[in-house]
């Protein structure tokens, strides 16, 4: 699949069909994400957004169709090495015995499970926490943080290995408005620094002004929504946030 002047997309799914026991959720879906994109995948609950992302990341095997990451089949673990992933989740329990720094540090565990974390891993962790503005919380237990702070910590974990592609599955679910805005600005800065972003959400929300692509999943099919249409709908918001991408 070639887009944007013949460049190979860094993430692509082609004619993907996926079904659970209850029925088909993806019905011949194709999607390609290019380097530099800040794309959002919209859809209602149960529309198959998370399923599509998991197929794209090689975590689920489709009935038919293909998924590629960085030119390799997504099921190949090497294909996921340049990917940072922020999963959909509820708040982490305060009983989880791990500090913020430890959670971020686990993002440095790629491929091989052997060994302990070293000085370079700890330095990368400190840098990732600074990038999301939460370096001062490094020693706190992850469960003691607010939902918004936890999501930014999970982004730091995804960033700690300098990914080329950041995939976020409903990262602001249950997060207050103020935190969502800070979160959107963090993503804008990351995208501006060269990180490609694919985010799954119910609605565009505060990231609207910064998006370069909007796609929506409905009844197993994917539609590209013109950016102009989205911008019209969030016009007031864009005027309030002139720093957004145009």
């Amino acid at each position: 699949m070639k887009r944007n002047g013949g460049h190979e997309p860094i993430l692509s799914v082609r004619d993907v069909v996926f079904a659970f026991e209850s029925g088909r959720v993806l019905n011949g879906v194709s999607l390609a994400i290019d380097a530099g994109d800040f794309a959002i995948l919209l859809g209602q609950n149960g529309s198959g957004k998370s399923t599509l992302v998991k197929v794209a990341l090689g975590l689920l095997e489709p009935v038919s169709g293909s998924a590629m990451l960085f030119g390799l089949p997504s099921r190949d673990p090497r294909a996921r090495e340049p990917v940072g992933y922020v999963p959909q989740r509820a708040a982490i329990s305060s009983r989880v015995p791990a500090t913020v720094a430890e959670v971020v540090l686990t993002g440095r565990a790629h491929g091989s499970p052997f060994g302990v974390f070293g000085r370079a891993d700890r330095a990368a962790t400190a840098t990732a926490l600074e990038r999301v503005g939460l370096a001062h919380l490094a020693g706190r237990r992850i469960g003691e943080l607010s939902g918004g702070e936890q999501q930014r910590i999970l982004i730091a974990r995804a960033l700690v290995s300098d990914p080329q592609l950041l995939v976020l599955d409903e990262p602001t679910a249950g997060v207050d408005k103020a935190s969502q805005q800070r979160f959107a600005e963090t993503l804008r800065d990351l995208n501006a620094s060269g990180v490609t972003i694919l985010m799954v959400a119910h609605d565009v929300g505060p990231v609207g002004p910064y998006l370069t692509r909007v796609v929506a999943l409905h009844q197993g099919h994917l539609d590209e929504i013109p950016l102009e249409e989205v911008r019209e709908q969030i016009g007031m918001f864009v005027e309030d946030h002139p720093g957004g991408h145009r």
Binding site: R80, V103, P113
Partner: protein
Amino acid sequence: MTFFELFWMSVVAGAAVGAAAPSIGTFVVQKRLSLIGDGIGHVAFAGVAFALWLDVSPLAAALTFAVLGAIGIDAMRRRSPEEADMGLALFFYGSIAMGVVVAQLGGSLNAGLLGILFGQVLTITTGELITIAVLAVFILGVVAGTYRGLVAVAIDEEAAVVRGLPVGALNAGLMLLTALTIGVGMRVVGILLIAAMMVLPVGIARNVVRSFKATLVTASAIGAGCAVAGIAVAYVLDTAPSGTIVLMAVAAYLVSDAFRLARRSLARGRAA
């Protein structure tokens, strides 16, 4: 002769098991599998019953059955997670029932079996001590050598899969280490109480330290401390060592929980 001169082998064996069991328990508890050690212990009991019937080494048989049980349990959990609960119950109760039947057939359903169920640390032999020490060092070594992967999977399994970690192999390895821990702990606290030594020190450590690594190290130190103190108290009070060891851990947990609640109240008071 002093207590240590009389029972140094028991103390060393207790400390080895006390340190090794929570090092596995730290990961098992985090994965919400606290009772898995108990279940594998039931399977090991069936192995011991067969060993007594066939007159082979109970420790070797317990280890073999525990490892096979761990492999079976892991396969069952992976194949049908929704049915895992009932499947595990069948596995565990079927094993202990089989153990009782085989023990009765072999004529070993007597007081001697209590030593397997609840440990006999004061009568440990040199050969058993060497086996326990080697296996405990092996368990601690594997945990240290694969800490990077184990902690990543324990904190967030889905994210670990995305990063290309061999999550299935790490989970299977953890089950095998759990099985080894059951075998190692059999002579010290017995098949029915070894799970307590995997879980309780972790609960204590979680109440007093903040990080995962500190939880692991502190839990191992607490486990070893409870084992040594429990053996000494059992000697002085003439009580059952295994029960005394576990009761020490239960008491330490209650104290640590009171400490945690007091610390939380203090923090809330300061914030108000």
